[in-house]
Symmetry: C2
Subunit: 354 residues, 2 copies
């Protein structure tokens, strides 16, 4: 620490992302990336765009890509905000809709970036406990002072909350913004996007990092009432006029258009997920019901941390959170079926040696 | 405005970037872009990277590209911070080094994003007047309460302040950070980067948008003492773990390595600048001495706003600021020699009709 740091730089508690090891031999099941490459149309669009005016600034208003995303979700361009990954969209959302001295609510087990934003922007928060089985008691989120944010499906638990219960939270927070962070909803049974026409206080945040295989390109977006989008835009335009580069714009446009490719890869991942779930259960794992591209598991006989270490020694990286209530769980990203077979092989090895 | 906006969303006064018209027939001389495409090595590196693991997150620590930039400037990796354009680097710098209730100083005529950041983060500021001839009186910046930020060369005036006078500002602000925004310094005679080993309170901010022809890719960076870089990194990691995408990383690495290409295009622009300056003087323009890729001009007989309009009607876009002291000036980006000849042709047309 130095005398030159602001109070914000001193008080913040930076987020620690999953390990990014640069070893191509490692099977990476720790950051919920998609095992499949992006659509060939995305690659083609980027290769074309890179020949074209990279010396010029990108569009500050992102009209074309917003229109394409709007069309996909059957909303208007004015309902769509795009950012440099959904983390940036969430950061802008904290700035645009949450307030110092007004407590916001999020689940005690959820995306660990929320308290990081709250500390950075000095927004007081309360972590509302999930039930014993990690499902959500929606009534705990009614009548917040400053707003609500929650992932649905939740991470790292993988559990999905039905839309009518999300709706109850929105209706019981009339004066505040409710942010539903749908990073994983393309692997789930429904999305709150259909509610945005009904509720002016609902913001749905999504990403191309998971289902669209574009973690490397940084495209996140928010869908909501046009006044919420305008608030986000005001913050963004006071922070950085051009947050999304020309190649990311070209890639995002192609990704949202090639729906067929994305539906196919998503279906493959969901099939592998369901197969892996039953394989893990056969081996005595307790597996939470997942509507995401990962499983959240624990084993009555093997402690999660030692399993994490045993897997890492064998070239497989999963995520272990040293946190209250979940320190005996592992979060396992769904890779290709081949990767998951290798993963199960290592698990069987570890189990056989104990 | 809506009840859902935070105080920040209500109070901020978003930056308005130069017009980005999507008409390929327009000669764009209004946002200080480089008229030449980026190095072919940049294009090649991006085409290669797009085939490679776009489904994986980029490096959160950006070690390789930081090392390459560090090598170029003869500093250490720990002295380099990279962001999504220098606007993001500046935003993080305001958060990391400036403080509510502690007044910062910047010139009254300078980059118009500074007051925007200050309003967003509630940092009080005072705009110190440039002299009558738009040169800087460095003594006005001595002993600031909360820090100093200034572009060198200055924008939109194009005037460069000599390094010994910048040094005097740094030395007379021992307890605060002095940010030198060197967006244009590759077109100037010197850079403050050489001072960073000497002063722990100096942060130099640079960009690949201008001299490296990569406005479309969004790469900015800061060079400073490792404790300042650590402060910036803490803020960034509390805001967005992955601000620079895989393609931007690949492009930035190639751009910093292909020094020969960039020196050649920079030299061409500086030659065109010097030629244009004399051509404008022949036509009665007053032209400030430029060490940038643009000229700041006025004409005793023709008002800037009407010239701006006349040029626009003829398909040429320059920048006019409707601001105190400079409302009778135009900022003209240096394009290719051919564009500037067309520009002069239109000027001659306009003059002949009056």
């Amino acid at each position: 620490m130095t005398k030159f740091w602001s109070e914000a730089a001193k008080r913040c508690t930076p987020y620690v992302p999953g390990e990014q090891l640069n070893d191509p031999n490692i099977i990476k099941l720790n950051t919920n990336e998609n095992p499949y490459p992006p659509s060939p149309l995305v690659v083609g669009a980027i290769k074309q765009e890179v020949e074209n005016q990279m010396n010029r600034y990108p569009s500050p208003t992102l009209d074309n890509v917003r229109e394409k995303i709007a069309y996909h979700y059957q909303v208007d361009k004015e309902n769509v905000f795009i950012g440099n990954g959904s983390d940036e969209v969430l950061a802008f959302s904290f700035m645009a809709f949450f307030e110092e001295h007004q407590q916001i609510l999020f689940p005690d087990i959820s995306y660990s970036f929320y308290p990081v934003y709250a500390n950075l922007f000095q927004i007081p928060y309360r972590e509302m406990p999930l039930k014993q089985d990690f499902t959500l008691d929606e009534t705990l989120f009614f009548g917040s002072q400053g707003g609500v944010i929650l992932p649905n499906p939740n991470a790292p638990t993988s559990i999905h909350t039905a839309l009518d219960r999300i709706q109850a939270i929105i209706e019981n927070n009339n004066d505040n913004v409710v942010i539903i962070d749908e990073a994983y909803s393309d692997f789930a049974s429904d999305s709150a996007v259909e509610l945005i026409k009904q509720y002016k206080n609902l913001l749905v945040v999504k990403t191309m990092s998971k289902s669209r295989s574009l973690a490397g390109l940084r495209i996140g977006y928010a869908i909501g009432d046009k006044e919420l989008i305008e608030g986000l835009t005001r913050i963004k335009d006071s922070f950085n006029s051009y947050t999304v580069d020309r190649l990311a714009i070209a890639g995002a446009e192609a990704a949202i258009e090639d729906n067929k490719y994305y539906q196919e890869t998503t279906r493959k991942i969901m099939n592998t997920r369901n197969w892996l779930l039953s394989e893990l259960k056969k081996r005595g794992f307790k597996v939470l019901p997942s509507e995401t591209n990962f499983l959240f598991v624990h084993h009555p006989m093997f402690h999660a941390e030692s399993l994490y270490k045993g897997l890492k020694e064998n070239g497989i990286l999963v995520r272990h959170f040293n946190k209250l209530r979940i320190s005996n769980y592992l979060r396992i990203t769904i890779g290709t079926k081949e990767s998951m077979e290798q993963f199960l092989g290592i698990i069987d090895d570890i189990f056989s040696k104990k």
